[in-house]
Symmetry: C2
């Protein structure tokens, strides 16, 4: 439902209601229920689209690197893409991680969210093959890397980072976090 995505982007998460979506689409308040079992069902599909966007951004981030880039650089670029995408679509990103409003068993949601995670797993595995954190469980490591960037994305997207740390740029926070989590602190950037 395209209407839902634009409404979400324009008016935020709280504006999402079946009746508002129906009004925006120019149909009666009961019409959406012919296409979705209920609000949670609709939102789950929207959230799944969000995960697809995320996967796509991570995919592209690897392609834009110079051809000889190593696995660590690719993993770092993936983390960057994660955070930047989250901040580009803050309301959508917030929705994606709201179990209370979603149907977590929805097939599309499960498929897209695990596809995104598996992409991170592949990046982490490649980094491990290149010598990074070799004796850790790959999926656990991927989960922790995901957590690290996810925290920054969450807090920044809802403005909870800039409050306590005023005057900092996203670039600063992002590169610092990545250097901490990935241990790539070789070149302090000044």
């Amino acid at each position: 439902m395209q209407v839902t995505l634009t409404l979400l982007a324009e008016e935020g998460l709280e504006a999402l209601s079946l009746r508002r979506i129906a009004r925006r689409a120019g149909v009666s308040h009961g019409a959406p229920q012919r296409h979705f079992r209920g609000l949670a069902d609709l939102l789950s599909v929207v959230a799944a689209r969000g995960f697809a966007l995320l996967s796509e951004a991570i995919e592209k981030s690897g392609a834009q690197l110079p051809p000889g880039a190593g696995p660590m650089a690719r993993l770092e670029a993936a983390g960057r893409a994660y955070v930047e995408t989250a901040i580009a679509y803050p309301a959508l990103f917030a929705l994606m991680f709201r179990p209370g409003e979603l149907d977590l068993t929805h097939p599309e949601y499960m498929r897209e969210s695990s596809a995104a995670f598996e992409q991170v797993v592949r990046h982490v595995r490649a980094a491990q093959d290149a010598g990074w954190q070799t004796d850790r469980d790959t999926r656990l490591l991927a989960g922790c890397v995901w957590s690290g960037v996810h925290g920054l994305a969450t807090l920044w997207a809802q403005g909870a980072f800039v409050g306590p740390v005023p005057g900092v740029s996203l670039e600063d926070a992002l590169s610092t976090t990545l250097e901490l989590v990935l241990g790539t602190a070789q070149g302090d950037d000044r």
Copy 2:
């Protein structure tokens, strides 16, 4: 409002409504508005209590360490306390980071949340004084450390970590994340 905290713990975030709280307290549906300007106001006070709990847990975590523990051990213990508290009160923790339902300008919320953050800043400064990441901005560093553990706490509390990484214990995820973020990977635990 004690009733709100128990209702939140027992029935979760979605069960929090002014009318339900009033019923639970045995008063009429309009009574809560004599004490709070509205739902967002009430929830902000509850969220502030959550931040106070967090601060208290971090405080205690330092006290329980052996007397000669270094600043890095204290910082690590603080991170542990953050995640463990979040998981002990998952609904409260979720509420604390939901800008849409809160009044972010509420004095109690601002006071308690920034008090918790300042506590992390002090731990980070002590670690820096002991030689860790000495040439980084302290507040930025504290924000990134907070982000790292916050991501894990968020995902674990809503069950989004165990899904993609089945069979992992919180202890595994927590120690791995702390070792990554703080760079304390000296003793791989097997």
